[in-house]
């Protein structure tokens, strides 16, 4: 791959379709629910019956503006809709209502990491509102195609990037970032396996330095981030090898076969489609005013990028900050812990350590974690006050709390006899007792055999029945021995 990239330059652009999580469809009020009985969530508008009139769902507009603001786009003031005409059974109207010349979001960018981990900006061309089609099943009935229109009319945002990706890794990182974003904004569940986030790739290669783009190939039917990445890397190699061996790349739509890791021709490019776009006369223009944009901006949740910066400021490592902002739920949980304790690193350690391993063992998400964030904060506070040792807190006490999530950590620690003795007067009595038991060892210490300190610590722990705060006890033992 590296050799190829010495003499060739790939040009890669992504087109993402994000299915919005609104309750109702884009232009009609039938529900958008997933996994329902076929053709049970439809309406006369979705079915394309004559005389029906679409009306825009305000939730779709808000989602589009949210994403636009989060991606630093220009939000268009006068938005119109267009009909994209084509005949296919999964779209009964005979046209898709989309935005053609007036996409709601223009420009903007998303920040990602490149293959070497350096920061990179991916510029966006546009984001526009449109609707999904129904679902066709070709393999249930041997003689017919079966149509389920539940999905028809479900709102989509189409996000078109500039062709600025250098390789599959950048595309992968961009998709992860975009999914994170739509989930933080709570406008889509961003689930690629279930089709609520879909991605088409446009890719061509050209000799390095050449201005004109090569012939582009479109890759469709990509159902995971990994497959997007693999298909891009495969295509770069395929196209360069084709050119190197004297062939020419032809304009095609290809599909990725995950089994073989190769792309295959889906269809050669037929005549360019004539969609005959024209204004949708049934939908009045939507005017997006500055004050509307401002109110959306005000109500925007903290975005991963902002939280990442905040956590770095709280002195968390880049690794920790990345992991905590991986999902909105995890970040919110962390935010809640640090409402109650200022030990930011300690709070992060709880999540990265005990909580993560609990979740990993059960393949669960943070939403399913039984303990409240406040309880974790209380545990951290107990440790910081020296009342419970860190190992007791993450071990026995944590386990006991999982059994009884509503219990108070400090009461439970009492009950389990985990409260350590950090009162210096009380501890001093044990220290003195220990020293008087072995006068010869005290002598040895004072003659330079510092190793015997461990013996006295062991004795103090024994005398305190294991409840001495080791830090305080150790300090006192040294202090007495040095006398």
């Amino acid at each position: 791959m590296e050799d190829i990239l010495k003499s060739y330059e790939p040009v890669i652009g992504l087109e993402i379709h994000v299915q919005l999580n609104t309750a109702s469809k884009a232009y009609s009020s039938d529900a958008t629910s997933y996994g329902e009985e076929p053709n049970s969530k439809v309406s006369p508008i979705t079915l394309g019956h004559p005389g029906t009139l679409p009306m825009l769902n305000e939730g779709v507009l808000e989602s589009a503006v949210k994403l636009g603001v989060a991606c630093n786009c220009q939000i268009r003031e006068v938005n119109e809709f267009a009909r994209k005409n084509y005949f296919y059974a999964d779209l009964p109207k005979g046209y898709q209502i989309t935005q053609d010349k007036t996409p709601i979001c223009n420009g903007g960018f998303v920040e990602i990491k490149d293959a070497n981990g350096a920061d990179k900006k991916i510029n966006l061309t546009r984001i526009h509102m449109e609707e999904d089609s129904g679902k066709s099943s070709h393999d249930i009935d041997p003689f017919n195609t079966l149509i389920d229109l539940n999905r028809a009319g479900t709102p989509l945002l189409e996000i078109v990037s500039e062709p600025e990706f250098k390789d599959g890794t950048e595309a992968y990182n961009y998709l992860s970032e975009m999914r994170k974003l739509v989930r933080y904004l709570d406008i889509s569940d961003g689930n690629m396996e279930e089709g609520s986030l879909r991605c088409d790739v446009n890719i061509s290669v050209k000799p390095k330095g050449q201005k004109e783009f090569g012939t582009k190939v479109e890759v469709k039917n990509l159902n995971s981030f990994r497959n997007v990445q693999k298909s891009i890397d495969f295509e770069i190699k395929r196209q360069v090898e084709l050119i190197e061996s004297g062939g020419t790349v032809t304009q095609q739509t290809r599909t990725f076969d995950a089994g073989s890791g190769k792309t295959q021709v889906l269809r050669a490019k037929e005549d360019a489609h004539d969609y005959r776009y024209f204004n949708e006369p049934d939908l009045q223009p939507v005017i997006v005013k500055e004050d509307y944009i401002a109110s959306v901006k005000r109500n925007l949740p903290a975005l991963p990028k902002e939280l990442f910066a905040k956590y770095r400021k709280l002195k968390l490592s880049e690794y920790d900050a990345n992991l905590l902002t991986e999902s909105k739920e995890l970040a919110s949980y962390y935010e809640e812990i640090i409402e109650h304790t200022q030990n930011y690193k300690g709070a992060a350690n709880w999540i990265m350590g005990s909580i993560k391993s609990y979740l990993n063992e059960r393949a669960a998400s943070i939403a399913e974690f039984p303990l409240q964030a406040k309880t974790i904060a209380e545990l951290q506070i107990l440790v910081d006050a020296g009342k419970v040792s860190n190992s007791a807190a993450t071990g026995e006490l944590f386990k006991a709390l999982l059994e009884d999530p509503e219990a108070s950590p400090s009461e439970l620690a009492q009950k389990l006899n985990l409260i350590q003795e950090s009162n210096e007067d009380e501890l001093m009595a044990f220290v003195k007792q220990a020293l008087s038991k072995y006068p010869d060892k005290v002598e040895a210490y004072r003659n330079g055999k510092k190793g015997v300190q461990g013996l006295f610590m062991g004795e103090v722990m024994k005398l305190s029945k294991g409840k001495a705060d080791p830090k305080v006890a150790s300090k006192l033992v040294t202090q007495e021995l040095e006398k």
Partner: protein, 99 residues
């Protein structure tokens, strides 16, 4: 401006309509008249005149995002030329057209 037979064929195909030769003949004539009328309008000075797209002056006609059950599955399927208990049935489409 005269519309050619080929153009009529192309438009008919895009609209998934099928015409006999005689009908095509008639369409060419009709379209000719329509286009003539458009040419006539084009003689006017329309500089600065916005095209009329929307018959209503209303803007921002939005709907609250609330879901409603509007028709049942049986009602939805009722008028379909072909169906089974759950699905609309259409002729097998082997090659998926561009979305």
């Amino acid at each position: 401006m005269k519309l050619s037979k080929e153009e009529v064929d192309k438009l008919a195909h895009l609209a998934r309509l099928d015409f006999s030769e005689a009908e095509k003949e008639a369409i060419v004539n009709d379209m000719d008249k329509i286009l003539g009328f458009v040419d006539k309008i084009n003689e006017l000075d329309l500089e600065g005149v916005e095209p009329l797209i929307y018959l209503s002056e209303e803007r921002n006609v939005l709907r609250k995002d609330e879901a409603q059950d509007l028709v049942t599955k049986d009602e939805a399927l009722k008028n379909a030329p072909d169906r089974d208990t759950d699905f609309f049935r259409v002729p097998k489409v082997l090659k998926r057209e561009e979305e």
